[in-house]
Symmetry: C2
Subunit: 362 residues, 2 copies
Amino acid sequence: MTEGMDRKPTITDVARLANVSIKTVSRVINGERYVTEDMQTRVRKAVAELGFHPNLSARSLAGDRSFLIAHLYGDPSGTYTSDIQAGLLNRCREHGYHLLIEEIDYSSPDIEQRSSTLLHQLRLDGVVLTAPVTDNEIVQRVLERARIPHVRITPQRESDASPSVRIDEREAAVKLTQHLLSLGHRRIGFIKGSPNHAATELRYSGFCTAMEEAGVEIESDLLEKGRFTYASAVPCARRLLARDDRPTAIFASNDEMAAAVIAVAVEQGLTLPRDLSIVGFDDTPMAQMLSPALTTVRHPVREMGEAAADILFAAFAQRGQAASTSPAPHRVLPYEIILRQSTSVAPAQAAAAKKAATKKAR
Amino acid sequence: MTEGMDRKPTITDVARLANVSIKTVSRVINGERYVTEDMQTRVRKAVAELGFHPNLSARSLAGDRSFLIAHLYGDPSGTYTSDIQAGLLNRCREHGYHLLIEEIDYSSPDIEQRSSTLLHQLRLDGVVLTAPVTDNEIVQRVLERARIPHVRITPQRESDASPSVRIDEREAAVKLTQHLLSLGHRRIGFIKGSPNHAATELRYSGFCTAMEEAGVEIESDLLEKGRFTYASAVPCARRLLARDDRPTAIFASNDEMAAAVIAVAVEQGLTLPRDLSIVGFDDTPMAQMLSPALTTVRHPVREMGEAAADILFAAFAQRGQAASTSPAPHRVLPYEIILRQSTSVAPAQAAAAKKAATKKAR
DNA sequence: TGAGAAATTGACAGCGTTGTCTGAATGGCT
DNA sequence: AGCCATTCAGACAACGCTGTCAATTTCTCA
């Protein structure tokens, strides 16, 4: 790389050095067809020699790509957001794209103003939506009108208009609940998440399905409303555990709230999991750090970010071609039930099991 | 806002509608001097009516601002990265800027290539560096050469060349260690963090200072090397607690590693904090979720992000003016020692204290 | 061998802003 | 009244790239 230039090299400098037209340089940079080997090498050599990097502003102004995608989120909770972003970045790196992040207050009245500014100022090539923004109609409308490809992560419902990435939250909740049922639990408390997250109702619905299928009555007294945070779950846990007929198990809608349940249980002198089984959801790093380590569902968040990016880049690749022929793709990633130490047989049954074991031992 | 346009409105459209020149529109948008009230309102009305948003690519191509800043990091650990970004975003929002994030592998050989691409392609107005990237010389050199304002968060040393934001890590470690000493601990294990984080040596150095000042010998056997992760600290904790003369307290260089110590201690049947006192560092949300809740240092991460952004925006404001007159600003934010349940009097002393109490009670 | 198709390169006009320069109007001062 | 400084508005040329179109060469197949 030759130094000494005080000005950043432009495509013109490269063209001059390689003794070709700027258009040819542009062709090589963009990997267009119809350039001979000879030209390619000549141009590449000049590019390397000058340390040339095409100016993104100019490219986006002249062409119709900005090499920018954005992650819109409304709830920077825990590691979720950064895991999604890690996934997106992995793919961006491979494709020479850059990632912009924007937190938008979904409850604010100027959300239309803000999102519209964001999308019109920058000429975003694509957008990824998570958490409460996923289902925000205003943002969706703005994106639709601006015709910006976007992927919704964990949407309420799959829509034909936009692709999505998710896991089968309902099914995972069913399986997790069945695990508790199989351990003999019948009185199971449930702590819901934030009402504006699609996952909240999906997880609860899965819980209900499993309970009904098992013929176990769902007691509305054992349903608590949290907001996916530790703090929000503390009073929920207190109420559930203060009852004379306290549940033998609690299904917290995410790991953070499960951590709160553990803390409250320990505080009240319960021995875990003997006196109370607890399950979480997401398998955040915290899940294995808790004691007892948490039985939960592995939520492949980073992979979901990668999948979302894959969908976007695939869309970019076939841009301009038959647009509305194929319906929007919907990817459903595999989850996994992770059994750890926070769940065990229900108290009553535990006694019975012990008796049986003793009998057998004789 | 009038709909129906299939093309995004440009400055020309605004100029035509307001019946002024595009330059005047530009002046109003940028808040330049020499525009009459009358003109201002006329232009603003037209802008509102068309729903005009100036195109960032064009602005950055024509002018010398991109309205983009980037966060470069090399270690997306836990909530640290997202907290920094939350702080940056808070300020970006106020100033109409956007935030780009880029994870760079500091150990990779193409780091120069990657950072240089990043900085030349996009015309970044400023950059914020955290964690291992803060002290990476290659990145610093590239930034310096490109004359891009940048702020280093938690640097090894304050440099005249670039501003920085930090807390007094050494002093905080001193205080935290003194807390342990005051509880009677003398045999204190220490688990270091990753070697490429400046905080690692600073925290250890603070620990050593406090020990020396108290006239307590530092046993090299009680020094373990972790990497700021839970997993890395597990074997460290095992080694420390397997000793016959195990320490009565352990100073883990961050909360995550402290969590590992707690887990190992519990696993080995120790009662906390009676048998072992543990301190962490950072006061991540996890610290209060652990049991026992962790004594630690509150690290104002989000505020540090905000402070970094403030420094950048201040630099933008006085761009072009007397450049090198004032030295680079260095902000040192306040920390706080948070006492929770993971620390108590050292075992031997505990017995003595008990005896005293009993005596008094008679 | 010739005609049409395909491959290869270049000239040049934008893309939507801001910077520079020029011109006109206004104001204050002798 | 005359002159200079200041305020205000517009014309026009960049900024660095890509898209379009035209020109030239090379290939393909009858």
